[in-house]
């Protein structure tokens, strides 16, 4: 059982985690997380291609949190965490895990958009990306835009996501991304 985002963070942080974040997702925090990722990959002597891929994917995942995370604590005076991000370095891959609050009434439309992305072949995904790039994201306002399409394209995998219901109003949106080493 997960009671809130902090709980989820504690359950998933482990000895393989090289970047971890639990807090309010704001531009300065995104800059710090990206810097930590770069520093750690440098220390691990990671290959440029993998570094580039991870960097590109993580920035999209974090900015997705920034633009779309809902905040159940808006009326509180104290700022509570509304997002988490973990990057694990495993034997044959890196794993990115992000989590954010989402209002339950937004889930259906968002899920449809993600399902649509997951149904597309590599070529179709590229065409879809170009279509959204050319025509704008306004028509996709209720869900994933270029960021999610890009994550899917760059990982060569389907989007691995789930919604965990917390209460009548909010759920956690969890995105798991795997990048082969």
């Amino acid at each position: 059982m997960i009671s809130d985002i902090s709980d989820f963070y504690t359950q998933n942080k482990n000895e393989k985690t090289i970047v971890s974040f639990l807090g309010e997702i704001v531009p300065d925090h995104i800059t710090e997380i990206m810097q930590r990722l770069e520093d750690n990959l440098e220390m691990l002597n990671e290959h440029t291609k993998i570094k580039r891929k991870l960097y590109n994917i993580l920035i999209e995942a974090l900015q997705n949190l920034y633009h779309h995370a809902d905040d159940p604590n808006l009326n509180d005076n104290v700022q509570s965490p509304n997002a988490i991000c973990l990057v694990d370095s495993c034997t044959d891959c890196y794993k990115i895990l992000t989590g954010n609050y989402i209002k339950n009434d937004k889930i259906k439309a968002f899920e449809n958009k993600l399902d649509k992305i997951n149904q597309l072949s590599e070529d179709e995904l590229k065409q879809y990306y170009l279509e959204v790039l050319k025509n704008g994201e306004k028509s996709l306002k209720d869900g994933a835009g270029l960021g999610m399409i890009e994550i899917c394209r760059k990982t060569d995998n389907k989007l691995n996501f789930e919604f965990v219901t917390l209460n009548d109003n909010y759920s956690l949106f969890i995105l798991k991304i795997k990048i082969s080493k």
Partner: protein, 127 residues
């Protein structure tokens, strides 16, 4: 004639626009949260110069990373440059990429297809 110079940061590229020299350069990382806001001064400058440019224009894109939010702005910049060419201007677009960065090369190829102007694809030396 207006010129523009913006120094790069961890999330935003260095931008140089010199109307006398006919140079537009965008170099570094472009991963801001609000790209539209960041690129607005460049758009304003390009628009105010669009009708007055008598020199040939060279556009250099040398990006290390760019996020999807910037990708739309890059397209809009390229469309503005394309409109200068349509109006009779002489335009050269150089797209720089690391040799092993196929994604950056592919992005350049996508853009040149969309705006229908051939780019000079330039490989950056390793290191």
């Amino acid at each position: 004639m207006q010129n523009l110079s913006i120094e790069g940061t961890a999330k935003t590229p260095t931008i140089i626009f010199d109307s006398q020299m006919g140079l537009l350069e965008i170099k570094g990382r472009s991963i801001p949260e609000n790209s539209t806001e960041f690129y607005k001064p460049l758009f304003d400058t390009l628009k105010s110069n669009a009708g007055n440019l008598s020199t040939p224009i060279t556009v250099n894109f040398q990006l290390e990373y760019f996020n999807t939010s910037s990708s739309k702005c890059i397209l809009d910049i390229l469309k503005t440059v394309a409109s200068m060419k349509k109006a009779g201007g002489q335009v050269t677009i150089n797209w720089y990429y690391d040799e092993d960065d196929e994604d950056m090369l592919e992005s350049g190829e996508n853009y040149q297809e969309i705006i229908n102007i051939p780019f000079n694809m330039q490989v950056l030396p390793q290191g």
